[in-house]
């Protein structure tokens, strides 16, 4: 169907919200609470627009498009309403972006940038809240929380771990883990879903803090090396340092739709670990190892295999392939055994 946005005719699909239609057509409407996975919360009221024939401002995340609808996203009325909300948010927290890990990806920052707001103009004298650093992998800074509700919706409705909720202290909303425990003492399983979905820097990945800013990392798709669910990963990589900075789940992937567990999201230390093997090793007669070149190691293995094969037959050699190696590598491994060594003695640890 066709609708009009800011005077231009654009295509939209039935059932879509105004927000989705705008996004599909490259028209920016700031929003803080809406997320594809948790849907419209109607909380932040930053995504308001004007619709011809309707009174007042409408939240674009909750109103569906209709044929011929005429929408304005940048009228003075809209901008003023948006400014009011964003100004209020900037004034009630500590939103200093300089060392924030969300810098460059923050949806509040994007909204402020779009509206030309440098800082909050109101002074509420809101008291500083303590950081919650009790969790092994997740860092919580409530001073940056904008109470959008995404994390609460995600923890309860997406990963269904049912840890996060809003608590009310006086008339101030705040997020709480279980009965307001420190995150690390709560029943949280540290899946990190709340961190991935938080639009600001209130919930971030602890191990990534200060490692690289969003525009410095390259994003590479991979698949989780742990269990067999096969969650799709987006590795955030600092190529120069040759390091993984952060791991996200890929939204919309058929296996995990952005979700991960604590291992898949945070268990990547082993990749860059100092104990990684860097070169082939050959055992000395006294039982210690010495470094060897590839030539020497391959030469030794092939000589020993020939020797054992000619003395005892190929069936005295056994190969164990790996449930952690790729298909390509398992293929070459069994081909090596069948074609080159000449035995079908190949198995894997899958059943263990």
């Amino acid at each position: 169907m066709q609708i009009s946005m800011n005077g231009t005719s654009i295509g939209a699909k039935p059932g879509q919200t105004i927000f989705q239609a705008a996004r599909d057509n490259g028209i920016f409407i700031p929003t803080l609470c809406y997320h594809d996975k948790v849907g419209a919360a109607g909380k932040c009221r930053v995504c308001v627009v004007e619709i011809e024939g309707m009174n007042g401002l409408q939240t674009s995340c909750s109103v569906e498009v209709r044929e011929g609808m005429r929408i304005q996203t940048r009228t003075e009325k809209v901008i003023n309403a948006q400014k009011l909300v964003v100004d209020l948010l900037l004034s009630t927290g500590t939103h200093d972006c300089i060392a924030c890990d969300q810098n460059g990806k923050c949806e509040l920052q994007n909204a402020a940038y779009y509206l030309g707001l440098e800082r909050g103009s109101l002074n509420y004298g809101v008291p500083e809240k303590d950081m919650d650093e009790s969790s092994e992998f997740v860092f919580v800074d409530r001073n940056k929380c904008i109470s959008c509700g995404r994390c609460v919706a995600a923890c309860n409705g997406t990963v269904v771990n049912e840890v996060l909720d809003f608590k009310y202290r006086g008339n101030k909303v705040d997020i709480a883990f279980d009965d307001d425990l420190p995150m690390g003492k709560s029943s949280c399983v540290q899946c990190g879903e709340c961190s991935q979905i938080c639009p600001v820097g209130a919930i971030t990945d602890r191990n990534s803090r200060g490692k690289a800013r969003h525009w410095e990392v390259e994003k590479v798709y991979s698949v989780c090396p742990y269990c067999g669910v096969g969650c799709k990963l987006e590795l955030h990589v600092d190529r120069k340092a040759n390091k993984i900075i952060r791991v996200n789940g890929v939204e919309g992937a058929p296996t995990n739709d952005g979700m991960l567990c604590v291992k898949g999201r945070y268990g990547y230390d082993f990749v860059g670990h100092e104990e990684r093997l860097r070169n082939p090793l050959i055992k000395n007669p006294d039982g210690t190892f010495r470094d060897a070149s590839w030539d020497e190691a391959i030469d030794l293995v092939s000589r020993k295999f020939f020797e054992i094969k000619s003395k005892h037959g190929a069936d005295s050699i056994m190969g164990m392939c790996s449930a952690k190696a790729t298909n390509e590598e398992n293929y070459t491994f069994q081909k090596l055994f069948r074609q080159v060594i000449g035995t079908n003695n190949i198995d894997h640890c899958a059943r263990l």
Binding site: S222, G228, G230, L260
Partner: protein, 525 residues
């Protein structure tokens, strides 16, 4: 899995048996929990531990370890007795029904209660909920397979799903949850002693001929031996050399003392891995390999979905991709392999692997493809056995109940069962390198409140767990989730290895060790 992950919220009922889903497969657990909370899906959990999924279940019950065949036969007994079976499905698509019916006839709820400890009334409720469901799915993991009756257990799950007509339909199926990222792929690629890629049988004349032509050499038509047997043969001095890629049997093998002795008797041991693992330490030659983040290639997940990985970082030092190592060795031994990258290997795989034939890296794209995918036009197969089983008629098999190899007795009065926890993985080669994961979960034994009281041990105190194979000292984790009489030890920890305790008793066909049941005793230290 016969079915796909995305379709699991299409079921009315899900039976989880022998899978601690939220610990071992958390993201599948999340989807099941979500469907349950939304109100459509009713979950039944049958597990010796009161696992977290039980909190989301309509019915939870605890069976004695190793009694799954009796429980499943008991469900089928009741389903047939009440006429809840899918007569049309059985008639048109299955064979062996009469024999199955005769076998399950004696599994009355009272008889099953005596074997499994599940109250007769509970079994009746379970059978009714499951039997009357329009579409019911069954999920299991190692809790079904790691038994001397592993194959029997697996066949029983298939019996139940055929009986209820839950095969070949969205939201149904028999769904084993694979424990490692590419177990499925390792099997698909012929990493098994009796089959080439895509389960083409070793010794089958046309298959032998095809691969001889394809690889240009004559091939052995004698099926190889499974790994567990190879360890015994190594121990007896019959096997001379092992080449182990990326696995750590020194932690994962049953009866570790036996495994270590076997490896030490070898004339030559090659280990290809990313760390100097417990197993690599015993090797004569260690070859440094790459992690998932350092390579391109494909993994095949539990729902048969082939997905792409891309190289994100460089491997340290001179470490190589596993395939490069195999190529160097093959060429040193007289072949002339010429693979330039993973994609070229995949192109070769397609040519000899019918279920992957229609896949290309381009087609895999963002979503991947589920096999079978025989042609480049084929969309892949989310649900297997729609309309017809691969073998034609679905085979129902009468399965008698057999007790586990070792049962508790006066000397070793408790059941020992082993498994995984959320924060660690397998032998720990990867997960234990993370200080954060280690802080979250160290070695422990889960003990019931009653058993802990009996020996006077408190939470976090040291406890010694002993079986006829050996003993470990570990930390007591006392929990209501463990029933009286059962001790649970996660197997990830080299310093308190569960497999110093487990029994080297194998399923006669699949050669899977019975990790899920043996007899033990506990003492305070």
């Amino acid at each position: 899995m016969t079915n796909d992950i995305a379709g699991l919220d299409k079921s009315d009922v899900a039976l989880i048996i022998g899978s601690d889903t939220s610990e071992a497969h958390p993201v599948i657990a999340a989807r099941l929990k979500k469907a349950a909370r939304k109100g459509k899906l009713k979950i039944i959990v049958i597990d010796p531990k009161e696992i977290r999924m039980a909190d989301y279940a309509e019915i939870y019950t605890c069976q004695r370890p190793g009694t799954d065949v009796a429980v499943l036969n008991g469900m089928m007994h009741l389903i047939i007795k009440n006429g809840w079976e899918d007569k049309k499905f059985i008639e048109e698509r299955c064979e062996g029904y009469e024999a199955l019916k005769e076998e399950v006839d004696k599994f009355t709820p009272e008889y099953v209660e005596r074997i499994s400890g599940i109250p007769a009334a509970t079994l009746e409720k379970i059978a009714e909920l499951f039997g009357k469901a329009e579409t019911a799915a069954l999920y299991y993991a190692m809790g079904i397979t790691q038994h001397t009756t592993g194959i029997d257990n697996v066949k029983s799950t298939a019996n139940l799903q055929m009986l209820c007509g839950n095969m070949g339909k969205v939201g149904g199926g028999v769904n084993p949850l694979r424990g490692q990222s590419n177990v499925q792929g390792a099997c698909d690629m012929g990493g098994l002693p009796n089959v080439f890629t895509a389960y083409q049988k070793v010794g089958d004349a046309p298959v032998q001929e095809k691969f001889e032509r394809f690889w240009g050499v004559s091939l052995s038509d004698k099926p190889g031996i499974p790994m567990t047997v190879a360890f015994d043969k190594a121990y007896d001095g019959e096997m001379k050399a092992f080449y182990i890629m990326g696995e750590n049997p020194m932690i994962s093998d049953p009866d570790l003392h036996h495994a270590e002795a076997a490896l030490k008797k070898l004339e030559f041991l090659v280990v290809e891995d990313i760390f100097l693992t417990e197993t690599a330490k015993l090797a004569d030659v260690v070859l440094p390999a790459s992690t998932y983040a350092e390579k391109s290639g494909t993994f095949t997940n539990t729902e048969r979905r082939v997905q792409l990985l891309f190289e994100a970082v460089k491997a340290p030092g001179e470490a190589k991709h596993d395939w490069q190592i195999h190529q160097m060795l093959a060429n040193k031994m007289g072949q002339n392999w010429n693979f330039g990258n993973a994609r070229e290997i995949f192109e070769e795989i397609r040519k000899c692997t019918p279920s992957y034939a229609g896949m290309t890296y381009e087609r895999l794209g963002f979503n991947g493809l589920q096999w079978p995918c025989p042609t480049e036009e084929h969309p892949g197969t989310p649900v297997l056995h729609i309309g017809k089983f691969t073998r034609g008629l679905g085979l129902m098999t009468a399965i008698p109940f057999k007790a586990p190899a070792e049962m508790p007795d006066a000397d070793y009065p408790l059941y020992l069962t082993t498994g995984r926890i959320l924060q660690q993985f397998h032998t720990g080669t990867m997960s234990r390198k993370s200080p954060g994961l280690n802080n979250l979960a160290g070695p422990h034994a889960m003990i019931s409140v009653q058993d802990a009281e009996a020996i006077g041990v408190k939470n976090s105190e040291k406890v010694k767990v002993t079986t006829r194979r050996g003993s470990i000292v570990t930390t007591a984790f006392i929990t209501k989730r463990c029933p009286k009489g059962t001790v649970y030890v996660p197997f990830h920890f080299a310093e308190a290895p569960a497999n110093a305790l487990t029994i080297n008793a194998l399923d006669p066909v699949a050669k899977i060790p019975e990790y899920k049941v043996c007899a033990c005793k506990i003492e305070k230290v």
